[in-house]
Symmetry: C2
Subunit: 248 residues, 2 copies
């Protein structure tokens, strides 16, 4: 059918649209998206977050907003709001144990609904937590919002950095700017003796940033607190603004 109307699709909105991508799953895209959103909110920006990982939705849990959204008479969906951030996720529409068994084209339709039917108001940033891979959703985001930018998240090892590099190759083909690379799970500092171990290796983040000509935005350590914050719905930035992980 005809594409729905949304300020993000018609160009009326002046919001910066940033897709947080990695190619590989489990490297910390959702964690970085949620913490970045809360950090931007604390700086006074109005921020929206769309959980575009339809099968592997996790933003609702990570922001502690696993309830259903308010839907107005005209079918407008009010976004969830917590920690100074507005957000919407499949986690707000179905139970967490409910598998979403859809084929590719449904993903783009869902994204359209999140963009057009949710009342975002005037946001400065719209962050999209992208699913792993360079398939249907990545293609839909690029086709619907060609001016969106990409923030690349990787862990240090070659296996993850190579997949992230494939995303950069995809972004290049579609003229989306990669605004930078964040390396997550860079090291683990033992809580007992303080020694650091590079469990996932070293250097992958800087290597890709160099290869693709994008700024390297820094490293985040692997910490139990970051993981616990994600499980409990209190992002580390909100929980402990002073910690080095939050400042990165």
């Amino acid at each position: 059918g005809p594409q729905k109307k949304s300020p993000f699709l018609t160009g009326e909105s002046s919001a910066r649209i940033i897709g947080v991508a990695s190619g590989k799953g489990g490297v910390g895209k959702s964690t970085v998206t949620v913490n970045l959103a809360v950090a931007l909110g604390k700086l006074g920006y109005r921020v929206g977050v769309i959980d575009a990982d339809i099968y592997g939705f996790s933003v609702a849990r990570m922001l502690g907003m696993l309830t259903r959204p308010v839907v107005l008479d005209n079918n407008t969906i009010m976004p969830m709001a917590r920690h100074g951030v507005r957000a919407i996720s499949m986690g707000n529409l179905v139970d967490e144990d409910q598998p979403i068994v859809w084929r590719g084209p449904m993903l783009g339709k869902m994204l359209e609904q999140f963009l057009a039917d949710v009342y975002w108001g005037d946001v400065d940033y719209l962050l999209l937590d992208l699913p792993p891979g360079t398939g249907d959703m990545a293609l839909s985001v690029q086709q619907m919002m060609p001016h969106s930018e990409i923030l690349l998240v990787t862990t240090p090892q070659a296996a993850a950095a190579n997949v992230a590099q494939r995303v950069a190759g995809f972004a290049k083909k579609t003229n989306q700017k990669v605004i930078g690379v964040i390396e997550n799970m860079a090291y683990f500092a033992c809580p007992h003796c303080g020694e650091q171990t590079a469990i996932f290796g070293e250097g992958g983040g800087e290597r890709i940033a160099h290869d693709i000509g994008a700024p390297f935005l820094g490293r985040l350590p692997l910490t139990t607190a970051v993981r616990a914050g994600g499980d409990e719905g209190t992002p580390i930035v909100a929980a402990d603004p002073e910690s080095p992980a939050a400042k990165a």
Copy 2:
């Protein structure tokens, strides 16, 4: 077009077909698939591995077989063979930095090609390293091979266990048996002082196994050796059969 002929699709093959799934990416599906395959090979079984993660392919690197396959005159593809395992991956067909930018229906076609055009011979086990999510590939595997079974991999935290439970819900709907749950990255033993930290929390594996009524098959620790083996193409089972990680 008409479905290609393959012993795995016509039921001629007596191989046990096991999809290694998790729902979430980055929890260790590929690592478990590759190590399980090598371990079965060491026990004398003939094992084939299909890297069904088309966008996030990593099996070729993990088995140290990043070269191109031999293709016979009649377009039959000879599988790669290393560490006593036969395997095929997108990593054998394209360069590692090459993004695969396909929509959903292409995924099923690629799976069909891996099943029908590759000369697997008589294998006892066919392991499928599944992509994250419950989308096109999961649906294609279930439709093409309804008797395939699912091995579920999760990490201990709630966020990952919930997504794995969605896969179990999907398997139930499609009558695929879940043969068991493996919990990966269960704890990290500091190489300096030996103390263990449950970085990713505890209990997710056992909780899902209990909830879905499937056997809990054990825990694997988070070790630098497992990660390094994956990056260098020498699976830990092949590298150090005595280590506790390999025995699980």
